[in-house]
């Protein structure tokens, strides 16, 4: 083989590798029964979020209907205490939860990757300081911190909630990624890269990073679940913008309009079920991701 052909094969492999890897990862996920269920549920929620205006029978903020209807052909899931259609609110609410999950999950994972990798790779005193900060954020209870920050930044909208979730949610991922970086750091291929004169940044991001794709995916899924639950919790306490239509605010209004006394259990049941299903779908996908990084946890594997 001549030099040029070798270069060519390498170039072509570089180009197609990410796509191939993605395809292979998806196939591996799909082969796990639990992850498959998760992917299907998540796919449904994504479709609902995209096509909410087509699927919803009414506008989510239209409050011109009979109040407190507990279910009729015109309003399949009834109407709220303020006279809005519950089904439409539920469909539109998917958008907020998905958005918060993806946005906060991505940002938190980004912080976790940057902190985790540089912290795991560098062997300096700074490492001890970062260690302390990460451990502090790990033990400080996230929800009370979220509540306090949200109370100071009063009347913030979704952006504030995403910010608060990122501040409180990056530490777990950073710690997991750091320990993996530490084990990879002393492997032969990393030593080889260092001796061939590659810069630290290149070693970290081109040599080490690709080897922890599944851990990063797992940490993204975990932060997304945390973000979705955190957002719902804050909104349930009335700490978000109570006028946005989301599953959390639906539960806030349900509790505050005494849906329990009027017996409108759908108002309580449906938004929470959606939150639980979305969170469960991500957790189920995470089972498959666990299997990618740890063959012992793969389905069908015997001990």
């Amino acid at each position: 083989m001549t030099d040029t052909t070798i270069k060519k094969t390498f170039a072509s492999r570089r180009g197609t590798a990410p796509l191939l890897m993605l395809g292979r990862a998806f196939a591996a996920l799909w082969s796990s029964g639990k992850a498959r269920i998760g992917l299907v549920i998540l796919g449904l929620f994504v479709l609902v979020a995209i096509f909410a205006p087509l699927l919803a029978p009414y506008s989510a903020t239209d409050n011109s209907f009979t109040r407190g209807d507990s279910g009729s052909p015109a309003h399949l899931l009834g109407t709220t205490g303020a006279g809005e259609d519950v089904l439409s609110q539920l469909l539109y609410g998917t958008r907020i939860s998905l958005f918060v999950g993806i946005a906060a999950g991505t940002l938190a994972t980004l912080v976790a990757v940057l902190v985790g990798l540089s912290w795991g790779y560098a062997r300096t005193l700074v490492g001890d300081v970062i260690n302390f900060v990460v451990n502090l954020f790990l033990v400080i209870p996230a929800l009370p911190l979220m509540i306090v920050i949200a109370a100071y930044l009063h009347d913030g909208g979704i952006g504030m909630i995403v910010l608060v979730v990122v501040i409180t949610g990056w530490a777990t991922g950073a710690r997991v990624l750091r320990s993996q970086t530490q084990t990879l750091r002393s492997r032969d291929f990393v030593t080889a890269a260092v001796f061939s004169g590659e810069s630290s940044a290149r070693v970290v991001f081109r040599e080490i990073l690709p080897n922890m794709t599944s851990l990063i995916a797992g940490s993204f899924l975990a932060s997304a679940v945390g973000a979705i639950l955190g957002e719902a919790g804050l909104e349930f306490l009335g700490l978000g913008d109570v006028n946005t239509v989301s599953w959390g605010t639906m539960l806030f209004w349900a509790q505050n309009s005494n849906a329990m006394l009027t017996g409108q259990w759908v108002l309580l049941f449906a938004p929470g079920l959606c939150i639980a299903l979305l969170a469960a779908s991500l957790a189920l996908i995470n089972f498959g991701v666990d299997g990618l990084s740890n063959p012992r946890l793969r389905e069908g594997a015997t001990r």
């Binding site: 033990v139 209870p141 306490l237 539960l251 509790q255 309580l268 939150i275 639980a276 969170a279």
Partner: protein, 326 residues
């Protein structure tokens, strides 16, 4: 001993950091509590300068530079002086907290330990009986239930068991007819009122322990010493409990310390749903009434409680695993 001293040092450092964070938090935020209160008043009409000054005086706008503020903050803290609550004026913040603290500590503490023990045992069973219904049911069920928002589980239990079936009281920690004292009647009533909140925390936190323990256990079961123990013809029960589970327990204990914060956070929402008079319900009241002294003190108390619990877990870990004592 060296190990314990090191942990105590770390605890003190972490406590200092948490206390300082609590000091910095309101100062990092845009605007002050007084500005917020004035803005709220301004919505219903113009606010005169004297009213503004009165609000600022009442909300205690800090004087002096940041170091003087920090020193006086630490001084007040040393005397457990957190100021006076706006909402429950003229009660002091420390008296409100000391009334609410026992409810949360007993409820969350007892339920968390019960949940950890049950979940860990179920996880051991699931890994040992891998592939059977004893594995699938707790894992899939656990994954599904652990995604339940705490407050939603609470709302459902309250609605179905409290309102529809009428089996349990719907709010509070004890009935209106009993007075808090050391009588059997009072304890019985308090226990009766705590069943729904306790059940909520148990249901939502159990799944996490099952999953964590199952995964650890599967990893340990793959180790050579387990195979060796089996080859030696030891009883399966001995292999499962004394060889595998004992070692798999250690990472789960670390997870216990870390998950404690999440359980405490979730129980705050549970208390709000059941109007249970613990720290969470107090925090909810403080936040909705913009009662900043109460809110800050509560955040500090909750953080310190979780830090202390983590410290205990760390010490316990050292006692269980000799390697960490080095």
């Amino acid at each position: 001993m060296n190990f314990v001293l090191k942990k105590v040092g770390l605890l003190l450092l972490t406590l200092w950091a948490a206390i300082t964070l609590n000091f910095l938090l309101p100062r990092l935020m845009p605007g002050s509590p007084a500005d917020a209160a004035i803005a709220k008043l301004a919505q219903s009409g113009p606010v005169s300068a004297s009213v503004q000054a009165a609000i600022k005086a009442q909300l205690g706008v800090p004087t002096g530079n940041i170091w003087e503020q920090y020193v006086s903050y630490l001084g007040n803290l040393a005397h457990f002086d957190f100021g006076v609550s706006f909402t429950f004026f003229p009660q002091s913040v420390s008296s409100l907290i000391s009334a609410a603290l026992p409810w949360t500590i007993v409820l969350v503490g007892v339920v968390t330990i019960v949940s950890f023990v049950c979940g860990t045992l179920l996880g051991v069973l699931a890994a040992w009986k891998r592939g059977t219904w004893l594995d699938t049911l707790p894992t899939v069920g656990g994954a599904f239930v652990s995604g339940f928002p705490y407050f939603w589980t609470a709302l459902l239990l309250l609605f179905f068991l409290g309102y529809v079936a009428g089996l349990f009281p719907r709010s509070g920690a004890y009935g209106a007819t009993v007075t808090p004292n050391f009588s059997i009647e009072f304890f019985g009533d308090a226990l009766y009122h705590s069943i729904l909140p306790a059940l909520t925390i148990l249901i939502t936190s159990l799944g996490g322990w099952v999953l964590g323990m199952r995964n650890n256990m599967i990893n340990t079961l793959g180790e050579d010493y387990v195979t060796f123990a089996e080859a030696n013809g030891l009883k399966p029960k001995t292999v499962a409990l004394r060889y595998a589970a004992r070692n798999a327990l250690l990472p789960n204990l670390t997870a216990f310390g870390l998950a404690l914060g999440a359980v405490v956070g979730g129980s705050l929402l549970v208390e709000r749903v059941f109007n249970y008079p613990g720290l969470g319900y107090l925090l909810y009241n403080a936040v909705t009434n913009q009662d900043y002294p109460l809110m800050q003190a509560l955040f500090l108390m909750i953080t310190v409680s979780v830090l202390l619990a983590n410290f205990i877990v760390d010490i316990l870990y050292g006692a269980l695993d000799p390697r960490t004592r080095r």
